[in-house]
Subunit: 417 residues, 2 copies
């Protein structure tokens, strides 16, 4: 019985294909996998800086540019890289050809400049691979129902790669980037941060949404939905020789693939939130909807919420909104003052949200308590708390950011040995 040939999708981001030397290096990385016997498809981003230049052109001509034309313009960045990498591969003896979204076809909806993938026709690409030719796919783009080029929004090449891996039923989708994996926290803040070997999709989503920027959120959602095993690794280090070798990056996989479930997998922070306190509201049914109804109608995103008793049979409502939406939130609440009947309102932008994330929380108790005790020992006052099944977030004064994160990193046993 013949062995199954491993099939992988390799995706290279903008810094990985920044110039011709980097493109040559990427070709060598691809060659290793091909020579190790893998069936390989490649997805590429634009050379770094190119997309920004093209976006600038469109915005200079018209701040309200037609997204259809924007797509035709910016999609060329990835088209160039796909052709150049195909040439670089051929030069070192690997048969290759470029594929644009419309050639595959990779079909999208018509939400131009931020389109969503509707389907990927895998037939031509599989035929291409079977004939010994490496497809080099231009990421970030597809074609809409009327045959016009559509792009997937910034960072969309990750999503292209995952969608391709799903359509090709690939064993793995390798995302090559300028970092060598996903870390327990930001190494610029916590020196003892270490690389995570394996992380669940749900954890990655929580970490991504609170600050980690390694993978585009939509690509992780898609990977989770399609059960695509994603590996994040650096294109600036030597790649593994083959599937079976030691994998140097971070795997993003299903929870059930993760054997050792830590209580906490990672710690993230966000400086993008501001706190709003609405005080001395007459305590009666409907307070919450009187506040949050108008905010929702005004498209203000409310995140953490805590309600507490005020004086004289009143209640206080504390919550966070994105800093960029703070002014709008205040305006809306002032307009609603006659309905809400609060006495005063205060805001604070000098706060940080710190989140600990881990699927282990489902089975381990005391994760939140460890957090509160650790912060209390450093006399850090917790202003707002929110929890989900696999996340505990606290809002503290911004000045404690580093102190709090280092203390929590140690407390959860995440420090590198």
């Amino acid at each position: 019985m013949p062995l199954k040939i491993p099939r992988i999708v390799m995706k290279f981001g903008g810094t990985s294909v920044a110039d011709l030397d980097r493109i040559r290096a990427v070709a060598k990385t691809v060659k290793k996998q091909v020579e190790a016997g893998c069936e390989v498809s490649v997805v590429v981003s634009a050379m770094s800086g190119v997309t920004n230049q093209l976006v600038d052109y469109c915005q200079s001509l018209s701040p309200l540019f037609d997204p259809y034309e924007y797509d035709a313009v910016v999609a060329t960045g990835e088209q160039v890289t796909s052709g150049l990498l195909a040439i670089a591969l051929q030069t070192i003896g690997i048969k290759a050809r470029s594929w644009q979204g419309w050639q595959i076809p990779l079909k999208t909806d018509d939400a131009h400049s931020k389109a969503r993938i509707e389907s990927v026709d895998s037939e031509a690409l599989i035929e291409c691979m079977k004939s010994g030719v490496v497809p080099v796919v231009a990421g970030f783009q597809g074609v809409d129902g009327t045959g016009r080029i559509a792009t997937l929004g910034r960072g969309g090449s990750d999503t292209s790669a995952v969608a391709l891996a799903a359509a090709l039923k690939a064993d793995r989708c390798d995302i090559y980037t300028d970092v060598d994996g996903i870390y327990t926290t930001d190494p610029r803040i916590v020196e003892k941060a270490r690389r995570i070997k394996a992380i669940a999709y749900e954890e990655m989503l929580e970490l991504a949404s609170v600050g980690a920027k390694v993978l585009q959120t939509r690509s992780v959602e898609l990977a989770m939905k399609e059960k695509v095993r994603v590996q994040v690794l650096s294109s600036f280090e030597d790649s593994p020789a083959a599937m079976e070798d030691f994998l140097p990056g971070s795997l993003v996989v299903s929870e059930d693939e993760i054997v050792e479930k830590e209580q906490v997998t990672g710690i993230a922070y966000s400086l993008n939130e501001a706190k709003v306190v609405v005080k001395n509201i007459p305590d009666q049914p409907g307070v919450a909807s009187a506040i949050f109804g108008p905010l929702a109608s005004g498209n203000v995103n409310v995140d953490m919420i805590v309600q507490s008793s005020g004086s004289d049979n009143t209640t206080d409502m504390t919550f966070t909104v994105p800093k960029t939406e703070l002014a709008q939130a205040v305006q809306i609440l002032e307009n609603e003052r006659p309905n809400i009947r609060f006495k005063e309102m205060s805001t604070d932008s000098d706060v940080v949200k710190i989140s600990v994330v881990g699927i282990g929380m489902k089975s381990h108790t005391g994760v939140a308590n460890t957090m509160f005790r650790t912060l209390a020992e450093r006399s850090i006052n917790v202003q707002v708390i929110s929890t989900s099944e696999i996340k505990v977030s606290v809002l503290v004064a911004a000045e404690y950011k580093e102190l709090a994160m280092r203390a929590l990193h140690t407390a959860y046993g995440l420090d590198a040995k």
Copy 2:
């Protein structure tokens, strides 16, 4: 009965769309024609410098790059311009959309990097124009029979424009460039050169092949075959307000559209030829084929030929070849010396070919004689002569280039008043 709506194709070259300011200027030029009531389609080149950069990328990766991938890479230059011009048009109130070759489709053969157009499907573009939207077509490219991007070779956007004008049955194809028309000769050499109002396809072809570089030769051949009226004009001057207005450029049209047929329409020169003299060949049948057969087999292009009597029942053969092929020609003839049995061979690269061109020659006699007399009066020795129905060419020493051209320009009455 409704008046026929004039339909024109407007093509803008690289210097005409060199940067965003130039693209905005082009948009205004297009707007004028639209507001004058024309149905307009636009064809654009890449912004100047872009194609060279992309070609450099390919050549740096591999001097023997895959032409399929080269096409995918370099075609992006025009794609960017098409989207940007569409945005620029929308910004000033003109509905527009970009069209790539594969979207039209504009079908080519599979001679990648120098493909020829096989067909242009006009249906979608006509529908686009009928709905009041200006199609902005990426020049220089199409799609081959297997759905891969193919480019037409350098300068191919002119050919795109003419092919489009033929398919759309356009009344005129306006080629906007950085000169304001076609001149009787090179104005850098002959100060009194003047713009030609109308020139026949055949004349333009003869002038193009001997040095004028305003229009790509293939585009003129196609215009002649499809009877497309071509106008060359400057994008750096104000354009005519409408079809009916004074046309400031040069028209390239059928001979029968030209009312006043001058004896000579233009004078061109070429420094790209070298002279070869093979002397004292035994005069017997087969001399010409003994010489020119091997040269043809060796892919050496022979242009002007003259045979003259030598001494002692021998003959001399004088002819020209491209300078770049001179060394090869000499090598081939030396190898063939035993067959040809010539005594000596000499070469001269210090020559210029000067050609006078005009459809009027067909009906006027004495054009060649005027040439010889004019040159003789200046004691310029004519080394080789060749003639066609509408052209007389002479080879003279290179040092006489300016003197000869100015004298001929005056002699044929071409000087600007």
